[in-house]
């Protein structure tokens, strides 16, 4: 592992580096179609490096690279963003490479990365709430978030524009004390004692 920050079983999270920019840009693009212009405008490799560097310098967010423990391969990026000191919340977004022959454990990686991020958000950053948004058609992500303790707080109608049409966006939120640490978690002991 290279500069591990939070370690899971299959993946670990490490600081995001500017040189990760070009690799990470397409994943951000796919994951951020619910956002403003991300994905709709071209971004060259320099711009991608600058974008990632800006993410790591922004004090209102924590961005981490997701890497496989087996071979240190970079497979995604996650963000806790919009950290709010008064309301003690942050948004959460995960952008992973698509599942493929060489990245079969996509779902396990997604679950682990999110669990590690939530543990960090509540136990280290002392947040009270983390929210996430995902297009309602992304059933896998919805199920994953709910499994980790997120509650569906509503549906924001027509707030995404993907492939020529509007899509609804599910609003998910998890409060301190609600997030679930599954058995295989590195925080096994604490989870059981709750």
């Amino acid at each position: 592992m290279k500069t591990p920050f939070l370690v899971g079983e299959v993946i670990y999270l490490r600081p995001l580096e500017a040189e990760d920019g070009p690799a990470v840009a397409p994943w951000l693009r796919a994951a951020e179609l619910t956002g403003r212009f991300a994905g709709a405008l071209p971004m060259n490799e320099d711009a991608a490096r600058n974008e990632v560097a800006a993410m790591t310098q922004d004090e209102r967010q924590v961005s981490l690279a997701v890497a496989l423990r087996a071979d240190d391969r970079l497979v995604g990026v996650l963000r806790l963003f919009g950290l709010d000191a008064n309301r003690r919340f942050a948004g959460y977004r995960l952008a992973l490479a698509s599942p493929s022959k060489s990245f079969r454990n996509h779902e396990v990686a997604a679950r682990e990365a999110t669990r590690l991020a939530l543990g960090y958000a509540f136990d280290t950053l002392n947040l009270n709430r983390v929210y996430a948004r995902v297009v309602t058609s992304d059933r896998a992500a919805l199920a994953r978030y709910k499994r980790l303790g997120f509650v569906e707080e509503g549906v924001l109608r027509q707030e995404a524009w993907r492939e020529g049409r509007y899509e609804d966006v599910a609003a998910l939120g998890v409060l301190r004390g609600e997030y679930r640490i599954r058995g295989e978690s590195p925080k096994r002991g604490r989870a059981r004692s709750r």
């Binding site: 707080e153 509503g154 924001l156 707030e159 524009w161 609003a171 939120g173």
Partner: protein
């Protein structure tokens, strides 16, 4: 009326002027006004001056702001605006404050909100307007509901004020809903009012 941009029955919207700043600064530091807004820090005269200067010149095209003025007596009541207009998704957030507390409960906020929806859908060609309102702001929720917004989500413990967390409602109105209300014209609006 002076320099009216959008005129309603009893109020009108006009650009923000530098001389509005003292009124705004007072209300934007008033606890009763601010608890319904997304601010929790003191606002200096210089902050307010800069805000008025930028808003008045439409320095940020995705953040149009208007002064709300009562037509009778040309009385400045507050401000309203769209936030983060997103031209690709064709949506924008909505915000409003009536700092003149003696004028609360007279329907001016409802009227200003309705004018802003006309502006968003008729002039700016948006598809959706959304807003966030805290659960304790019943006057706001009433006004937004009357002009056609509906609650789409409840963000739990999303707001902190008065020493505790509160829920925030995310409300939205789609273009097609605004069009339907316009087509229904005053008849629809009247029926709605009766039903309530």
């Amino acid at each position: 009326m002076r320099n009216a941009f959008l005129a309603g029955r009893s109020i009108y919207l006009r650009p923000v002027e530098p001389e509005d700043a003292p009124h705004y600064q007072t209300s934007m530091n008033d606890e009763e006004v601010v608890r319904n807004l997304l601010v929790h820090r003191p606002l200096t005269r210089e902050d307010q001056r800069r805000f008025n200067e930028r808003a008045g010149a439409a320095a940020e095209p995705t953040e149009p702001v208007f002064a709300i003025v009562r037509t009778r007596g040309d009385l400045l009541l507050g401000a309203t605006g769209l936030h983060a207009i997103d031209w690709r998704r064709r949506l924008a957030g909505f915000g409003i404050q009536i700092g003149r507390k003696g004028e609360w409960g007279k329907g001016y906020g409802t009227e200003a909100t309705s004018l802003m929806l006309d502006y968003a859908f008729r002039d700016l060609n948006l598809n959706k307007v959304w807003l966030q309102v805290y659960e304790y702001n019943t006057r706001g929720i009433g006004a937004y509901t009357r002009v056609g917004f509906r609650v789409e989500a409840t963000f739990r413990e999303d707001r902190f004020t008065d020493g505790r967390y509160w829920d925030t409602f995310h409300m939205g109105i789609l273009r097609r809903e605004w069009e339907r209300r316009k087509r229904g014209g005053t008849a629809g609006a009247r029926a709605g009012r009766r039903a309530r």
